[in-house]
Each structure stands twice: as C-alpha cells, then as structure tokens.
Symmetry: C2
Subunit: 213 residues, 2 copies
DNA sequence: GTGATCCGGTACTCGATAGTTCCATAAGGG
DNA sequence: CCCTTATGGAACTATCGAGTACCGGATCAC
C-alpha cells in the first residue's frame, strides 16, 4: 500500500493523535449506546476534538462507525503448541472467554449484531477483523489434533469451530449465562470426546481407554 | 386473571382485531428495520389502523415494542419420545433450525439482541417468551437420555443446552453460516458422543466393555 | 335518541441530532 | 512573512419522527 495520494502536502497537517482518539471514543460509545444511539457530539467531547475534526476525516456517521470497527483488530494470536490438543484448545478458549467477558469486544458485540444484519460491509469487517484470527488459530490446533490421532480424521471443521465459539456468543448475547473457565473447559472436553476417533486403540499416541483429566 | 378493572364500560368497544394487527405489524417492522429503526406511522399503515389506535393501547413506542415481543410465544412444543435419545434430540434440533432459518423469530432475533442489552425487561421477555420452552423440552430429553444410560450421569445440563443452541445462534447472528439439517444432526451427534457414559458396558449390548472401575 | 368511546386519517407540535459554517488561532512549507 | 490547512468550540440549518389533537363517522350502553 502506497502513501495516500490525496493527502494535502501543504498547510497544517492533521493531528495523528486525534485519529486514534476519535476511533477509540466511537468504539466506546457504540459499546455504551449502540450503533445508532450514540451522538457525534459525544464522540467529539470524549475524544477532546471538535465535530469538524471528525467530519474532516469521515464523510458521515455511518462511515465513522465502519472505520472504527475496521480499526478494531485483535492483537496477534499466538497459537499454543504444548503437544497436548486438550491444553492447546483450552488455552485458546480461556483466552476467548476472557476477552469477551471483560474487554471492549465483549461490550461491543451485542450492539454490533443488529447493525451487521443491515450492513454487509460492517458484518464483513467484524468477521474478518477479529473473528477470523481466532478461528484460524483454532483450526490449526484442531488440524494438529487430527494428525496426532486425538481427533477423528473426518472432523467437520466448520461445526467444530461453531461448537467452540457458539456457546460463548450464545451466553454473551442471549442467555446472559456465565463466561468462565468452566465454559472454556467444558466445550474443549466435549469437542475432544465428541470428535474422538472411533477406535481408541489406534496408532501412535498410545492413549489408553483410561483417561485422566 | 380477572377482567381488567380499567376497561371502559361504556362507549364503543375497542376493535379486538386491531390489537393483534398492531402487534403483528410491529414485529414485522422490528424484523425489517430494527427496534429503533421502525416508525409508528408504518405500524399504523401496515396494521390498517390510525396512530391514535396504537397510542390508545400503548403508552409509548418502547411500550409497544415490549408488548409485541411479549406477545410472541412459541406454539406449544411437543416433546418427542421415540425411545431413542438421538432421534428425540435431532427432532427438536431440526425444529429449532427450521424455526430460526425461515420464520419471524429468526428475522427478529438479530434486531432484538442489542435492545436486550439495554432493556432487561425485554431480555427477560425474549428468554422466557420463546427460549425457555425449547430449553425445557431439550432438558427433558436429556434427562431421559441419562436415565436410559445414553448420557453420563453427571452431564452439565447448562453446558449441554448452550452447546445445542449456541452454534445455531452463532451462525444466525454472527457468522452467517448455514442453518441446515447438518447442523442439527452434527450437534446432536456431538452431544451424544461427548456426553456418553464412560462405561459402555451398560444396557443394550452394542459396545463391548473395556474397563470396569 | 344521547352520551361515551371507539374508528381511520390528517395535520400539527416539538425535541433531538446529523451535518455545516464560521471564528480565532495553531502549525506546517516556501 | 505568506499561504494553506488544521485546531476546538459554538452557532446554525434542516430533517426526521414520537406523540398529540382534531376531524367526521361508527358502535356500543342506556
């Protein structure tokens, strides 16, 4: 990506800190009041800028929302590799649970859902911005699990991912159930048992029927 | 429940059909435009009534939303009882998938989610109105499965219910993944395998006993 | 009939807010 | 210095829609 060609070369340059502050304030306000519920004047106040500074950077409120969500990306996810499929899955799940339980994405998501249905670009931004990374991390761990003989060879990956993530979002968005370690470990355990190979006597890892958890 | 004491005894009575038409039109418009996005004048137009008729029945738009959602209840759910835990679970899941794939609740839910976070009464109405019935039907089927020896005795019911329902809502609200029979049967199968008793020696002699502790 | 409340429909009030404009001033390049 | 664009802040415009008021007419009880 080259430098933007339409950037003005003369005059006072834009305050780079304001860019960040505006996006950040917008995200917080979306979390608090919803995509349609927040006011641009509140964004300005919280970011410590004038409304003009916002509209100089973003055509409209919709544009601002889109840019804010697009700017929200997970930090890089480290794919755990302890040698134990159970440990690796549980680690990723605990991370996810913690993320949605206590930080911005968790407070944001309920308010983004409805907007996603009517704005495909926003939906795509949410999915690709910070779902896809975790999904691919999980995919990799599952793939290794298959190779290791912990999971059956014909695992329905799409289903497995949705079973890992679904209950988390279900509780977050609908039931209000607890986002805790028990959830993370419960679904991990379920995936391991549910997608275990048919014949436990199989191949390398030499896992006996006897399990210790 | 007695007759409402504040009903007027004299004058022209209210048109009972209008009550229904208003609630129905409101639900459709919530599905189309969202809880905050629809206009009362559109409700009036679609229901074939005047705005006055709406405000005579409901104090405010918020009140109208609440009443509409509260009026949305599942038809009675018949708990299947074929003798097969797998068949019973799968039947309930196929029903649920079909419901959210093609009818009003499925189009409504994405738009209700954000409103639920800021209005606890609405959240409660959604949960008790048409989640609880399906959850208790599933609970009963799971309970029978435990008695029958198809599921382990210490099954985490809350987790099981969220694993059954979570992926469905996850796809509906977030990923946009397919709501189909494969999903219904996939989660059913996973629950059965994942929560299978440790000792397969029980009951119908399909599996051979490996270990006895 | 009389009186009360309903009906659908239209017109209105009025608060809220997205987006614009203007100001005095700051911060770049030449 | 000069020119240009940016700054925060305040004032302004224009739109939208909830809620109200009123219309002529309908439908109940008495």
């Amino acid at each position: 990506m080259q430098a933007k060609p339409d950037e003005p070369r003369i005059g006072r340059p834009r305050d780079a800190r304001a860019n960040q502050a505006i996006l950040r304030a917008t995200l917080e306000l979306i979390a608090e009041r919803g995509v349609h519920g927040f006011r641009t004047q509140d964004v300005a106040a919280r970011a410590g800028v004038g409304k003009g500074a916002i509209y100089r950077r973003h055509r409209s409120k919709d544009d601002l929302v889109m840019a804010s969500v697009a700017a929200l990306v997970d930090e890089e996810i480290v794919i755990p590799d302890t040698g134990s499929t159970r440990a690796d899955l549980a680690a990723l799940m605990r991370e996810a649970v913690e993320l949605y339980r206590s930080s911005l994405p968790g407070r944001l998501m309920p308010n983004l859902v409805s907007a996603m249905t009517e704005r495909p670009d926003l939906a795509q931004a949410v999915r690709e911005g910070f779902l896809i990374r975790r999904r691919s991390a999980l995919t990799e761990v599952l793939r290794r699990g298959v190779e290791r003989g912990d999971l059956r060879r014909d695992v329905d990956l799409e289903l497995a991912l949705d079973v890992l993530g679904g209950p988390l979002f279900y509780r977050l968005l609908i039931t209000g159930g607890p986002l805790d370690e028990q959830l993370a470990e419960g679904v991990t355990e379920l995936i391991l048992r549910g997608f275990a190979p048919n014949k436990p006597s199989r191949a390398k890892g030499a896992r006996k029927a006897k399990e210790h958890s």
